[in-house]
């Protein structure tokens, strides 16, 4: 992983942000990301992100839960240790509905949250470069990576022209690392800046 150069533009209002997003796309720049303090509906579409399919993971985990519960109880009560409970059938499917349901929900919820943390790379002890401390407070922070096509100075003046209140350049590690927030962020030592 390498350090990269980013141009950061901060917006104070969604009303300015949305037209800006459109203009950035039209100009052919590629977003690194936009950091917002709350979920701004429609921003993902505006940026051209595809829909998430995390709910599919939830469904699959749920199915695993259902299957686990039913097969396990069936195995226990019909094969491993059949108990005669008042002469009732050993394969008592209706009586297993509550546990099957609970296991479905449990597997789906736990599995989905773990999937979410994994695909978003969220975990304690895991740090990221934060482009602006107010991105979790009241600013919408648009980050564009500098490249051959996207020159730093051009980008800066472009972002000002679309309405960014604050523009700056940052050299940062784009991935995550393990460390502390309160010490100066020590990034990877490699220095092949784009």
């Amino acid at each position: 992983m390498a350090l990269k150069k980013f141009v950061v533009g901060c917006f104070e209002d969604e009303k300015v942000l949305f037209p800006a997003v459109e203009k950035v796309r039209k100009a052919g720049y590629k977003f690194h990301d936009i950091y917002t303090p709350f979920p701004v509906h429609g921003l993902d579409k505006a940026m051209g992100l595809r829909d998430t399919s995390i709910h599919t993971a939830g469904f699959l985990f749920g199915m695993i839960g259902t299957t686990t519960a039913v097969t396990f109880m069936t195995w226990v009560f019909t094969k491993d240790w059949p108990v005669n409970i008042g002469g009732k059938p050993n394969f008592a499917l209706p009586a297993w509905i509550p546990i099957t349901f609970e296991m479905t929900v449990l597997f789906a919820a736990v599995g989905m949250v773990l999937t979410f943390c994994y695909i978003c790379q969220l975990s304690p002890f895991l740090k990221r470069h934060h482009f602006h401390p107010r991105a979790t407070d009241d600013l919408f922070v648009m980050v564009i990576e500098c490249s051959e096509k996207a020159n730093e100075e051009d980008l800066k003046s472009f972002l000002v022209s679309v309405g960014a209140q604050e523009v700056n350049t940052q050299i940062a590690e784009e991935g995550w690392w393990i460390g502390k927030y309160d010490e100066e962020q020590e990034l990877y030592k490699e220095s092949n800046i784009a």
């Binding site: 969604e14 709350f38 509906h41 919820a109 407070d137 009241d138």
Partner: protein
């Protein structure tokens, strides 16, 4: 202006005061950054003291056995299971607010969902203590888990409602915790990024899992919340349904009825909302959150209380009707001789007054919006709901089929009461810590509804509307037209 969504002026704003995003953050986070107040210390130490007394009561029960309690044959469940059902019921309002109201797109949930969910988690923690310690030999509690063991392996009975409870309560606790914590991540990140001290930055950095606010992460986060809400909704209904199965699948008059699941779920939401009211009214006062937990929020919750209270009332009357209509002598004896009359008749009428008659006062809008009245009512309802469980358990058990098995008048011992008091200690200790160190209102969610439902937006709209109807319609139309290419925020 870009119109994101038009909402009728008849709906009051969800956030009062013309707040900006920065102000919202400050209002909610500044109490975490300041030293706790004197009142907080007093409350916290009182809670810890109660918790210690509870711990001692439980210690006596574990060391000397169930004999420390006055439960007897036939009243084997007594206070212990009454408290269990009561605490589980309390938890239900939190999930209802966070999950069911999310699915129903009720914007007002955002002001109260965080604290209500915290309440759920703490209430379920309290509830779980009772059946565990009721086992007597608590060190064998893990026998309820289906793990491969050296006793055969001997598995638990999956056909037993008591085992369903084990699964239901533990799943409920886990899922509520995940739902709550995933919502907390962005707010912890907000505190982390504002932190002025090293320790705070490090701890909240740890708790926030490195949350950055990336658009893609938000997209997944929203999807996750929605699915978790979809899972929690049937889950919360199933939990109290299963708790009611503990009673309904037995062959005890007064318990053996099919009305129990809906009746218990309604009762759970009823008592849970009362507890939410108690906590919210204190919280908004102590922490100055009147702009976020508005009278509108209180009124909305009071409406839920009057609805669920009436459902519970219908259930009580249905039970009486069925006892008469079924012509089963045992059923009739339980209801007409031992429940509404007899030595425990007072508890039945206390329950009826608190749960059925008093909430009807909430049909008055003036009373629904009265803070003091709501506070008193919330406590009355919780007393009533505790007695509901007491009535169900004790009055069905104290006269068994054989007169020789009729039990003497049941009074709890000090250690039985101490256990209950101790769970209050546990609950409030947790809640005080939560109120100090956690964002008690979902910051990100409030910011999300701020533009569409805040007071400033409403004022803007009122102005627009008052100008000219045709102009207003045209402007609305234009706005939507402009947004044709970039679809803005369809809340």
């Amino acid at each position: 202006m870009s119109l994101t969504k038009y909402e009728s002026q008849l709906r009051e704003p969800l956030v009062n005061g013309n707040k900006t995003y920065g102000q919202v953050t400050h209002d909610i986070v500044h109490t975490i950054e300041a030293k706790p107040t004197r009142l907080w210390y007093i409350g916290f130490y009182v809670s810890v003291a109660l918790l210690m007394f509870g711990a001692y009561s439980v210690y006596r029960e574990v060391v000397y056995g169930i004999g420390q309690w006055n439960v007897n044959r036939t009243i084997g469940w007594g206070w212990d299971i009454t408290n269990f059902v009561w605490w589980v019921g309390i938890g239900h309002a939190g999930t209802l607010i966070s999950a069911i109201l999310l699915l129903f797109r009720q914007g007002w949930r955002t002001g109260v969902n965080r604290a209500a969910e915290a309440m759920t988690i703490f209430a379920v923690m309290c509830a779980g203590q009772f059946p565990i310690f009721h086992m007597g030999r608590v060190w064998m509690a893990f026998f309820t888990l289906p793990y491969p063991n050296t006793r055969g392996p001997l598995w638990p009975n999956f056909n037993s409602p008591l085992l369903w409870d084990v699964f239901a309560i533990s799943t409920y606790f886990t899922v509520s915790l995940l739902f709550w914590y995933s919502g907390l991540l962005p707010d912890f990140a907000t505190i982390r990024d504002r932190a002025k001290t090293k320790l705070r930055k490090r701890l909240y950095g740890l708790a926030s899992f490195g949350w950055s606010g990336s658009t893609k992460h938000w997209q997944r986060h929203e999807s996750l919340s929605l699915v978790l809400a979809g899972l929690s909704t049937p889950l919360v209904l199933s939990v109290h349904t299963i708790v009611s199965f503990d009673f309904a699948t037995s062959v005890v008059p007064g318990w053996h009825t099919t009305i129990f699941p809906p009746y218990f779920v309604a009762g759970a939401i009823f008592s849970g909302f009362a507890m939410v009211q108690t906590l919210m009214l204190i919280l908004r006062k102590v922490m100055g959150l009147q702009d976020y937990i508005t009278l509108g929020h209180i009124e909305a919750m009071n409406k839920v209380i009057v609805l669920t209270g009436s459902i519970v009332g219908c259930a009580y009357l249905t039970e009486l009707f069925m006892a008469w209509y079924s012509q089963v002598p045992f059923e009739q004896d339980i209801f007409f001789k031992y429940r509404i009359a007899g030595p425990y008749g007072w508890s039945y009428w206390l329950m009826m007054t608190c749960n059925v008659i008093s909430p009807q006062l909430f049909w008055s809008r003036k009373l629904r919006r009265n803070v003091l009245f709501t506070f008193i009512m919330s406590i009355i309802v919780n007393i009533g709901m505790w007695f509901e469980r007491f009535v169900i358990i004790v009055s069905s058990l104290y006269r068994d089929y054989l007169p020789s098995s009729w039990s003497i008048y049941y009074r709890p011992t000090i250690w039985e009461i101490g256990f209950y008091v101790g769970t209050f200690g546990l609950f409030f200790t947790c809640f005080f810590l939560f109120a100090k160190y956690f964002p008690v209102i979902a910051i990100a969610e409030i910011k999300y509804v701020l533009k569409g439902n805040g007071e400033s937006f409403k004022n803007e709209m009122a102005e627009l509307e008052s100008k000219n109807v045709d102009e207003f319609i045209q402007e609305m139309h234009q706005d939507h037209h402009e947004e044709g290419t970039v679809k803005v925020a369809h809340h």
